[in-house]
C-alpha cells in the first residue's frame, strides 16, 4: 500500500521507483515508452530436417528408433491413402462430404506419436491422423463417413466428425474453437487426478481468431493446467489468408502476452514436430503448465469437397508446397538415408494401404445406415415424454407413407 501512495504522490520523482500493482511490479520511466507492434525478429521456426530430408548439422532433436520412425512413416502413408480414396469416393457421390489433411500429415502423425495414450484430445477436423495413430481403424473412419450402424456417432453428424472414447478423442464439433476451452477444463480434471497425463487441443490459425481461443488460453495460464494448444497454421482459413486473419508474430507470438510458453515449429518436418511435441508434453505434465505450439504448414488441398481453392489462390503457391515442402516425401528421404526404408517397401506399403482403405469403404458402404431409433436416443440420458410421443408419431406416419422416406435407414 505504501508504495501505491508513493506512486500516487510521485514523491520518488522523475521516473524513479516502482509501481507496486497487485500481482506485478513495474518500474517507472519519465519518458513515454511505446512498445512497438512487433519485435525485430519473429520467433524462429524450429526444424531438424531440410527440404531434402537431410539432417541439419548440429540440429538438436529427440532420437527416434527405427521402429518408431517406420511406424510414423507408415501411418503418414496410410493417412494419404485414406485422403485420396475417401476424397474420390465423395466426388463419386458415395457419401456427402470430406476434408483432406493433405500437407499436414507430419503434424498429425508426429504430434500423435509424441503423446501418451493417456492424454486426452480435443481436435478441430484436420487431425484424423492423431486418431489413426491411436488405432482407430480404417473401417471405423469409413463407417463414420457413411453414417452406418457401425458409426460410433450413430449416423448423426457429417463425415469427418470422428470421436472415440476408447481412444480418448472427444467427438469433433463443427463450430470452430469451441473445443479449446473444453480442453482447458479437461486439463483441470487431469491436474486434480493422479494420472500423469495432459490434454491436447488442435485448431487452425483461423479458429484462433475466435473469442474461445483467447478465453481458453487465459484460463489455462491462470489455472495452471497441463494443456498443449497445437495451432496448425496452414496459411488459409477457407479463402482467407493469414495476413487478413491476424497481425503480430503469428499465433506463437500471443503466448507470452498470456503468460504461456510457446514454440514455433516447422510442421512439415516430422522429426522437429515429434521433438517439439515431446518437449511440450514434458513441460506440461511435469510442470503443470500450458504450452502453445504453432506448427507452420500449408493446406495443399481444397478446404473441403465443397470448396474450389483455385478461386482464391495461385497454383504456383500450392505447387511449391507440394513439390518442395511435402512432409511425407521429406521424411521418407531421411528414412531412406538412414537405411530404414527402400523403394520395394514403399511400393508394398502404398499397395496395401490403398487396398485396406478400399476394402473399408466397400464394407461400410454395404452396411445398413444407423437405425431409426438412433434419431431419438441420446438427446438426453433417457427420452422425455415429448420424444417418446414424437417417435410414436414418426413411426406411425412412416408406416403409412413408406415410399416417401429413404429405404436405406432401417426402421428398427
Amino acid at each position: 500500500m505504501s508504495s501505491h501512495a508513493t506512486a500516487a504522490t510521485g514523491k520518488e520523482g522523475h521516473g524513479a521507483g516502482v509501481l507496486d500493482f497487485p500481482g506485478a511490479r513495474f518500474s517507472f520511466v519519465n519518458e513515454l515508452h511505446v512498445v512497438p507492434e512487433s519485435t525485430p525478429t519473429p520467433i524462429p521456426c524450429y526444424r531438424v530436417l531440410d527440404e531434402l530430408g537431410q539432417l541439419i548439422p548440429g540440429a538438436k532433436y529427440t532420437q527416434v528408433s527405427e521402429e518408431l520412425a517406420v511406424a510414423m512413416y507408415r501411418k503418414m502413408a496410410v493417412l494419404q491413402s485414406m485422403d485420396l480414396v475417401f476424397y474420390d469416393a465423395q466426388r463419386q457421390g458415395r457419401f456427402s462430404f470430406y476434408m483432406t489433411t493433405a500437407g499436414e500429415e507430419a503434424i498429425n502423425i508426429a504430434s500423435g506419436a509424441a503423446l501418451s495414450d493417456l492424454d486426452t484430445i480435443f481436435a478441430q477436423y484436420r487431425e484424423p491422423g492423431v486418431l489413426l495413430w491411436r488405432g482407430f481403424s480404417m473401417l471405423q473412419f469409413a463407417h463414420q463417413c457413411f453414417a452406418t450402424s457401425g458409426d460410433l456417432g450413430k449416423g448423426r453428424q457429417m463425415p469427418v466428425h470422428y470421436g472415440s472414447k476408447e481412444h480418448r478423442f472427444h467427438t469433433i464439433s463443427s463450430p470452430l474453437a469451441t473445443q479449446i476451452p473444453h480442453a482447458v477444463g479437461a486439463a483441470y480434471h487431469v491436474k486434480m487426478s493422479p494420472e500423469d497425463a495432459c490434454v491436447v487441443t488442435y485448431f487452425g490459425e483461423g479458429a484462433a481468431s475466435e473469442g474461445d481461443f483467447h478465453g481458453a488460453i487465459n484460463f489455462a495460464a491462470t489455472l495452471e493446467v497441463p494443456v498443449i494448444f497445437v495451432c496448425r497454421n496452414n496459411g488459409w482459413a477457407i479463402s482467407t489468408p493469414a495476413r487478413e486473419q491476424y497481425r503480430g508474430d503469428g499465433i506463437a507470438g500471443r503466448g507470452q502476452a498470456y503468460g504461456v510458453r510457446s514454440l514455433r515449429v516447422d510442421g512439415n518436418d516430422t522429426l522437429a514436430m515429434y521433438s517439439a511435441m515431446k518437449a511440450a508434453r514434458e513441460m506440461a505434465v511435469t510442470e503443470e503448465r500450458p504450452i502453445l505450439l504453432e506448427a507452420m504448414t500449408y493446406r495443399t488441398g481444397h478446404h473441403s469437397t465443397s470448396d474450389d481453392s483455385s478461386r482464391y489462390r495461385g497454383a504456383a503457391e500450392i505447387q511449391h508446397w507440394k513439390l518442395q515442402r511435402d512432409p511425407v516425401a521429406r521424411f521418407r528421404r531421411w528414412l531412406q538415408g538412414q537405411g530404414w526404408w527402400d523403394d520395394a517397401r514403399e511400393e508394398e506399403l502404398r499397395k496395401s494401404a490403398r487396398a485396406e482403405v478400399i476394402a473399408a469403404l466397400d464394407t461400410a458402404e454395404a452396411t445398413d445406415k444407423a437405425p431409426l431409433r438412433d434419431l431419438f436416443t441420446d438427446v438426453y440420458d433417457a427420452a422425455p415424454p415429448n420424444l417418446v410421443e414424437q417417435e410414436r408419431q414418426v413411426r406411425a406416419h412412416v408406416a403409412k407413407h413408406r415410399a416417401d422416406y429413404p429405404d436405406n435407414v432401417p426402421l428398427d
Binding site: 445406415k369 444407423a370 431409426l372 412412416v398
Partner: protein
C-alpha cells in the same frame, strides 16, 4: 442424401410452375429508385408493375440486391468471413472488385467480432451488412445481437441506434448438413424486442426483402434459405425495389384451412396444399415473410374465414415460432376456430444427418395434418 437432393430438384421444378403467381405478387412490393433512406411506399418513376425481368436463382438475387445496396448508398459496407472472394455461397461475388476492398472485406474468423464491429459501424451512421457464414455459427455473436444490437436504441433513450445493421445468414436443411449446417434458429431471435427477423422464400422475395431490411432503421436478422440458393430460379425484376417488412403474403386463397409458413418450407407447403386440393380441400396459404414483427392481422383474417390453422417450420416444434402464432390466433380467433391449431415442425432433437427426412416436416406430414384438421 440422394433423396434430399431429389427433393430439392422437385422444389426447383415446382417453383418453375409457380412463376406467374410469384410475379403478380410483386405488385404489392414497395418499389423505388434513387438514394437509400428515401424509400417510398409508392411506385417509383418508371415502374408500372411491368419492370423488366431476369431469370435468377436465389444467390444471384441476393447478390443483385447487395450490388444495388452498395450502389445506392456510398456509406454502406459488406463484411464477414470469406466475403471478399465472393463468399462460400457466392452471394458476394463481384462486389469487392466493383466497390473496392474498403467497402467489401474479409474479417478475422470471429462472429462476435463481426457483429460487434457492425454495431459500432452502424451506430456511427453507416450501413453495416454483416454476413455470418452459416446460421449455425451465429451463436458466438448471440450476446452482441441480443444485448447490444437489439437494445442500443432503447437503452440510450433513442440517442443512439444501430438500425443500419443487417445480418445476413444462410439457414435450413440441405439434405446433408447434419447438426451444424442445417439449423433454423429464427425463434431465438423472435424472442428479442428491438430486432426484426426476415425470411424470404424465393429469389424475387430475397431481393426485395433484403433491400428493405438493409434500409430499415432497425437491426435486422435476414435468414437466407440456403437449400434454394442454386435450386430456386424465377423471374426477378431488375433494378431497385423493396418488399415491405412486417407484411405476410397470401399465396393462394382458399376456404377450408389456413396454412402458414416461411422461407424454404413454403415449397413443401405448396406441394402439400396441391396434394390435399386433389382430395377437395381448399387451402389458404400464407407466407409470413417477416417473423418479427409479424402480420397477425393477415393470419387472423384468414383463420376467421377458414376456421382452421396449420403452421409449419423446420425448427424443433417446442418453443418454435409456431407456438407464438398458435397462441396469438387462439387469443384473436378463439370463437372462429373449428379445430385445434396444428403444428408440423422439426423434431425435438438436434438436426440429424442420416435421419434428416424423418426429422423434417415433410410434404406428407403436412398433408396428413391438413386432412386431420379439416376432418376434426
Amino acid at each position: 442424401m440422394q433423396r434430399g437432393t431429389a427433393a430439392l430438384l422437385r422444389c426447383a421444378r415446382f417453383l418453375g410452375e409457380l412463376q406467374p403467381r410469384r410475379i403478380s405478387s410483386l405488385e404489392t412490393a414497395r418499389c423505388f429508385s434513387g438514394a437509400a433512406m428515401q424509400a417510398q411506399p409508392s411506385a417509383p418513376e418508371g415502374y408500372d408493375g411491368t419492370a423488366e425481368l431476369k431469370r435468377m436463382n436465389l444467390f444471384t438475387a441476393v447478390n443483385d440486391a447487395l450490388h444495388i445496396a452498395l450502389d445506392t448508398d456510398p456509406n454502406s459496407y459488406i463484411f464477414g468471413e470469406d466475403v471478399s472472394f465472393g463468399g462460400v455461397f457466392r452471394c458476394t461475388t463481384g462486389l469487392a472488385e466493383r466497390f473496392g476492398r474498403h467497402r467489401v472485406f474479409n474479417t478475422p474468423l470471429c462472429e462476435q467480432g463481426i457483429i460487434g464491429f457492425g454495431i459500432g459501424l452502424a451506430a456511427m451512421g453507416s450501413r453495416a451488412i454483416a454476413e455470418i457464414q452459416f446460421a449455425d455459427y451465429i451463436f458466438p455473436a448471440f450476446d452482441q445481437i441480443v444485448n447490444e444490437a437489439a437494445k442500443c436504441r432503447y437503452r440510450s433513450g433513442n440517442q443512439f441506434d444501430c438500425g443500419g445493421l443487417t445480418i445476413r445468414t444462410p439457414y435450413g436443411a440441405v439434405g446433408h448438413g447434419g447438426h451444424y449446417h442445417s439449423q433454423s434458429p429464427e425463434a431465438f431471435f423472435t424472442h428479442v424486442p428491438g430486432l426484426k427477423v426476415v425470411v424470404p422464400r424465393s429469389p424475387s422475395k430475397a431481393k426485395g426483402l433484403l433491400l428493405a431490411s438493409i434500409r430499415d432503421r432497425n437491426p435486422t436478422v435476414f435468414f437466407e434459405p440456403k437449400g434454394l440458393y442454386r435450386m430456386a430460379v424465377e423471374e426477378v425484376p431488375i433494378g431497385d425495389y423493396e418488399t415491405e417488412l412486417g407484411r405476410a403474403e397470401v399465396l393462394r386463397e382458399g376456404s377450408d384451412v389456413t396454412v402458414v409458413g416461411w422461407g424454404a418450407q413454403m415449397l413443401v407447403l405448396e406441394r402439400a396444399c396441391d396434394a390435399v386440393e386433389k382430395e377437395g380441400v381448399s387451402c389458404e396459404l400464407i407466407d409470413l415473410q417477416t417473423l418479427l414483427p409479424w402480420d397477425v392481422d393477415t393470419v387472423a383474417a384468414s383463420v376467421s374465414k377458414t376456421g382452421r390453422l396449420v403452421i409449419s417450420h423446420e425448427a424443433p416444434i417446442t418453443s418454435g415460432f409456431g407456438a407464438e402464432i398458435a397462441a396469438k390466433i387462439a387469443e384473436r380467433s378463439f370463437l372462429k376456430l373449428e379445430a385445434p391449431v396444428a403444428r408440423v415442425c422439426g423434431l425435438d432433437t438436434p438436426f440429424p444427418l442420416v435421419f434428416e427426412p424423418f426429422y423434417l416436416p415433410t410434404e406428407s406430414k403436412v398433408a396428413d395434418a391438413i386432412m386431420h384438421t379439416v376432418s376434426f
